[in-house]
Symmetry: C2
Subunit: 452 residues, 2 copies
């Protein structure tokens, strides 16, 4: 054992994870679904550096972000870098650099790791995997791209076995929230302070909220109305929603939500969505629709969040460009899938990921057959088959067959058992049906036989 001062070396750093094969398979299961759903919806994948110039993040989020970053400087003459806490600044940089030659709209997805220098908590780690989809530069009214993006989220959730009863897409709109505040007498210049406050609702007590609202110049009974409006979570089709919107929101809010709902309905995802003005999304750059996906009980953090950011591309040197996007992490999603028993069992998981061995090769124990195991396995692999072998010195065929039936990740066993009878021929057995092929197969025909 290592001396005590080295003990910490033998653990992953705080808030990061080690992935042994089965744990990694569960992450790959999620990532495969992310990728499949992205491609199906016409998104192209992009990627960028794992670290960027620190200022790329402060340009967007202000100096406050620095305390949440892992930052470093390599050479004293060089700039300071930071591990990416999110991908959007990189995406904005990539889009801005080629804005004029990119299609309208450009639809990009991304999945990689992000880093946040925070104290780890349930659902929040220092390193995690994130999936982003963004629609940039769509020239139609915003509800078309907004709804298409929400539909991507729904199809991902559906693909993983979730249902509208288990998760909800809570949709809000920065403009609608602004109007809701303005009709209650809030002045333009205090809006940032108000958004900062609204974003903390649920994490601070109602009394604290009312006291802060009073400091911002709003009467307590009016502020209580704000809290009530934010707490209301209602299906779009509910007849009270329209009344609610015209009473609490006004302006163009009702019109936008009506158009968005028509799009969501057309895409077949409206039953997953509710209107909820309580969704604020702290980040300052959202300009229109914002949404979060939550487990219905509300006990976990958000599974995903996103919204419209029509001014960000310009901030990064590009032309004025409408854009909408979301990010979904693997950590909360994994908790929700686990709590709902939605991960396939280990055998099925390995099968779905294409990890089940096609063949498990052993010898009948003679020297000639034993010496042929390596070459036969190599030949099967070259033919494109996933072939495993016994590495044991044991010649107890019974025991070795047991290894074949539990081979591969998850212990599901190989499809075919191959027992070399000599260097030239093998007995083969279908391990699913238990059926042994009546005659030995010549080695030269083995790969073709197994491929069917």
């Amino acid at each position: 054992m290592p001396p005590p001062q080295f003990q910490h070396l033998f653990q992953a750093p705080t808030g990061t994870r080690d992935f042994y094969p089965l744990e990694l398979a569960r992450l790959r299961y999620i990532q495969d679904a992310w990728r499949r759903v992205s491609i199906r919806h016409g998104f192209d994948e992009i990627d960028g550096p794992t670290f960027e110039h620190l200022e790329l993040y402060t340009v967007k989020s202000g100096e406050g972000i620095v305390s949440e970053l892992f930052s470093f400087q390599r050479f004293s003459g060089e700039k300071t870098y930071a591990l990416r806490p999110e991908f959007t600044p990189t995406l904005a940089r990539l889009y801005s650099a080629k804005a004029n030659s990119l299609p309208r709209p450009t639809k990009w997805f991304w999945q990689q790791n992000c880093f946040r220098a925070e104290r780890p908590q349930r659902g929040r780690l220092r390193e995690f995997c994130q999936w982003n989809c963004d629609i940039i530069g769509d020239d139609a009214p915003p509800q078309r791209a907004d709804a298409e993006l929400i539909a991507v989220c729904v199809e991902l959730l559906r693909e993983l076995g979730l249902t509208p009863e288990k998760v909800k897409i809570r949709i809000s709109h920065r403009g609608a929230i602004e109007t809701m505040l303005k009709v209650r007498g809030v002045a333009e210049e205090t809006l940032p302070a108000w958004f900062f406050l609204l974003d903390r609702v649920g994490r601070i007590s109602n009394d604290d909220f009312l006291s802060e609202a009073t400091k911002l110049g709003m009467k307590a009974e009016v502020a209580t109305g704000v809290l009530r409006a934010m707490a209301m979570s209602t299906p779009f089709e509910n007849p009270t929603t329209e009344t609610f919107l015209s009473e609490h929101v006004g302006g163009r809010g009702p019109e936008y939500f009506k158009a968005l709902f028509a799009e969501l309905k057309g895409a077949g995802v409206a039953d997953w969505c509710v209107l909820n003005l309580g969704i604020v999304r702290g980040l300052a750059y959202y300009t229109g629709m914002v949404f979060e996906i939550h487990e219905a009980s509300g006990k976990e953090r958000a599974i995903a969040g996103g919204g419209r950011y029509d001014t960000l591309i310009e901030l990064f040197g590009g032309p004025p460009t409408p854009a909408v996007g979301f990010g979904m992490g693997d950590v909360v999603l994994s908790l929700v899938l686990k709590d709902n028993g939605l991960f396939p069992d280990d055998k099925k998981l390995a099968g779905q990921l294409g990890l089940r061995p096609d063949a498990f090769v052993l010898s009948n124990g003679t020297d000639e057959a034993e010496a042929a195991v390596g070459p036969v396995v190599a030949m099967l692999r070259r033919a494109g088959l996933h072939a495993r072998r016994s590495y044991k010195a044991s010649k107890n065929v019974g025991k070795l067959i047991k290894d074949a039936t539990s081979a591969g990740l998850g212990g599901g066993g190989a499809k075919w058992l191959v027992i070399l009878e000599s260097a030239g021929a093998a007995t083969v057995k279908d391990l699913d049906s238990g059926q042994q092929h009546p005659e030995p197969i010549p080695i030269g025909q083995l790969a073709g036989f197994i491929k069917g």
Copy 2:
């Protein structure tokens, strides 16, 4: 445009890369092959944190590594971390932690990004992608796992279209090099200095080599013999190889190489391999066979490198465990594929990666059909099809059809063109054959029809 002091923000940091969709597709093409070949050879995938405690790297490589690391400290009370320059220390940590419950041998693969704080050069970046395969704890004589690992490399190269004429696996052995030095009078205690010197052969002039060898106490004519032995690169089957080995190496070297060659021949990969004692591998932890893969002209850096490291697992707190592994980066491999014209063209690449759209949907221009585009596309996607659409306001069907024939990454076009004639029926055309289906397809049957 941003002010000059922000210009650097709009470029990726030195030595890192931005990946637009086609560039990323070329990386994914390599990574897919890495994954496919690993799985076929019975390796299970693992992963670990992107950064580790700094000391995890100095334990293995000494303090000298620190200058090549991106390191940082988050909170003053916390340890110093470093971005991983390689994965082997993490692998050793993972194996050591569960050594007693893991199968013998354990076969793991890994592919992720690594980071080196060096000045970027051709073939060497600050962030790059790497593929590792390791066989840990095989109880048979070393040549079995050594040859299996080399076979994995060969199958990857073959899969990507390379041939034994274009790339060579240069194989050496730390013990053989030691013996070669010792029979020339080198003392045990100067071996580390000698390995440091030998590792620089090719990067320093022969004169500098001879002068340093003399300083280490070897006569110039003997040192010239060392250079000659290192320069000799010979097929294993060459009759001079045995003579060479017994003259220059002695000890158990010839016996090991003979056994290794038999294994390589059995696996069908011997024609890719040459014996070359010039391969030293600077890293101190190798204990047996070492190898590198080089483009035949020798003009690029190594495509891959690896070897046996039988003492490393113990260094990380595990039991004494034989192990052999290699790492292959994406940067040099990409250059070699590009120089040899081995990347598929953009259309084929997209097809091979499963990125070709199944359907491209547009309307005949009527309001009813136009309104149905979104819902029909959503329906096709839900059925698992990759469906794209026209986002243009244009109703010029001729122009829109042109978009369909160039849709998708690489501009290969969709498989099927779907023109909605109403909300209920569509004309469909096979864009490969140019054949239009004689009758409109009812929307409810569209997904089934396209799936065939």
